[in-house]
Symmetry: C2
Subunit: 313 residues, 2 copies
């Protein structure tokens, strides 16, 4: 019976918060980085200074990290990249590391690798992302990653990480009971009924359990409030939306192209997401509960992030 | 009497350890950086990733830091520089920051500043250092900094920070007692006796207390054992000498141009320094006491460094 149970059990889809402060690292918060665990893969979103230490602290195995997506080229989102690449070299990595980000990152990374590393035992493959486009930047058989155009002081995009639809799950108990040969599994997954040797038709819905729901996570790193952003975020299970400021600094939010916690929550409500994670907190807030409370006035299911937090998506 | 006492009181000369691990940052150690407090100035030696956070943790005021000396261009000694410069910009620094290091650092820093900062409100002045020379790279009225050629896989130098000799201290009580005019103070500091109106000669040594001893600190960041290094370190009060490995990894020390703790202690003994600080520990040592014990077999007065330690020099 345990295999039947397992087929119903969703694979982990989690986000590990490595840093959720804004530009000024403090003793409370590191600058931006997080790792999303999805379908057995580890994708990093942004890579601020100190990320490699946070990665170690989180106990995520370095070798599991395969892809890094950089939202924009402000230091608090990318200064940790060359240090992490160097360390991966020192610990003997051989698997390629795939890095996505605005095109200007390519030559910067190339020149840093050329100057600061020696006999790097793995390839760093760079893929330019056009932050003005909403498009698929990565996909494999089980996951796709799309860019989400944001509005910040420099070209910037968020990322939407979405599972691909799976087929329904075969019920092993039914396969055994009706003695259905393995060769028929694919047909049944695609919806076929089964006709027994006695001529009885067993409807497909008795042979399978439904496909897993398609889950998705959106990361909106740095952005001013965008009134139609919700259109790209509809149906998202978990949204991380920057909330640098509280209502008390609405003007600063506008001036520096950031959002208030309330604005983040308005986007979450408009998009009808499952839950909202708040982060990218300005160092001016000793206590971020004020941000949480303002956000909750617009959208109830929201949470403050903190370093080493892990959220199920 | 308190002013007399104060004139005997030595000004602080301390080293704050911000990071004392080697290339691989661990949960125990950050990579190399330290701040030396001397004659009211704060000089940074190396600036690894995470240094700005360590600086904050150490409660050293950002504005007090005026000079940064980089020993060599391996990431674990300089990757934190651009992040620290960016943060200084964000917090409104206006005073120039003086950066010393191998000449290749200049254009790297320039291009990082041009790309990653915007309207930086202060000047970053770069001074190339020739790591093959033992020469004065900085001096002011009270302190001088000299380069110390080291032998590593890339051009590398340590730094010797030395107080300049002061004049003897005037004894205010004697000045008052003999009614010596202020105009005579400089002559007396330079060694003059005083002749009273009654014709009595007061010898200089009764009018002054001796000049403060000239103290010095040497930082030898990354180097293989150099058998004549002691000649540049004679009379140094406190020596920090890298001790990446223990006796068990003597071959690796040789291969990677690092030193063992024992070799560091041999240099300390040869140079006759006051005390030895061990650091730049390989991440392989869970317990660095083994390094300390091996060093102590050669030179008794030595200490393991640790993040946030502060040593008097």
């Amino acid at each position: 019976m345990s295999s039947t149970f397992n087929s119903h059990h969703l694979e982990p889809f989690k986000v590990h918060i490595l840093g959720c402060g804004s530009a000024l690292p403090t003793l409370r918060h590191n600058a931006s980085s997080q790792v999303v665990e999805v379908r057995g893969k580890m994708f990093m979103l942004d890579c601020a200074e100190g990320t490699q230490m946070q990665l170690r602290r989180s106990k995520i195995r370095f070798t599991k990290l395969s892809h890094v997506f950089i939202s924009h080229l402000h230091g608090d989102h990318c200064f940790g990249l060359i240090g992490m690449v160097s360390t991966f070299g020192l610990v003997g990595r051989t698997a390629p590391l795939h890095v996505y980000g605005p095109k200007e990152l390519g030559p910067i990374l190339d020149s840093q690798i050329a100057f600061f590393t020696h006999d790097l035992g793995f390839e760093v493959k760079f893929y330019p992302v056009d932050p003005t486009q909403h498009t698929v930047v990565y996909h494999d058989h089980s996951v796709e990653v799309l860019s989400i155009p944001l509005q910040h002081r420099v070209p910037c995009c968020g990322y939407l990480i979405r599972e691909k639809a799976t087929q329904p799950h075969i019920r092993p108990d039914m396969m055994k009971f009706y003695e259905i040969p393995v060769s028929q599994r694919n047909n049944i997954k695609k919806g076929a009924d089964w006709v027994t040797s006695e001529g009885e038709t067993i409807p497909n819905e008795r042979l399978v359990t439904p496909a897993d729901p398609v889950r998705s996570y959106a990361y909106c790193s740095d952005t001013r409030y965008i009134d139609d952003l919700w259109q790209l975020l509809q149906g998202v299970d978990t949204l991380y939306h920057e909330s640098t400021y509280g209502d008390d600094h609405l003007k600063q939010a506008d001036k520096y192209c950031h959002s208030t916690a309330r604005q983040a929550a308005i986007v979450a409500r408009q998009a009808g997401v499952g839950k909202l994670l708040l982060g990218h907190f300005s160092s001016r807030y000793e206590n971020e509960e004020v941000l949480l409370n303002e956000a909750k006035e617009e959208f109830e299911n929201c949470y403050l992030t903190n370093e080493m937090d892990v959220f199920d998506i």
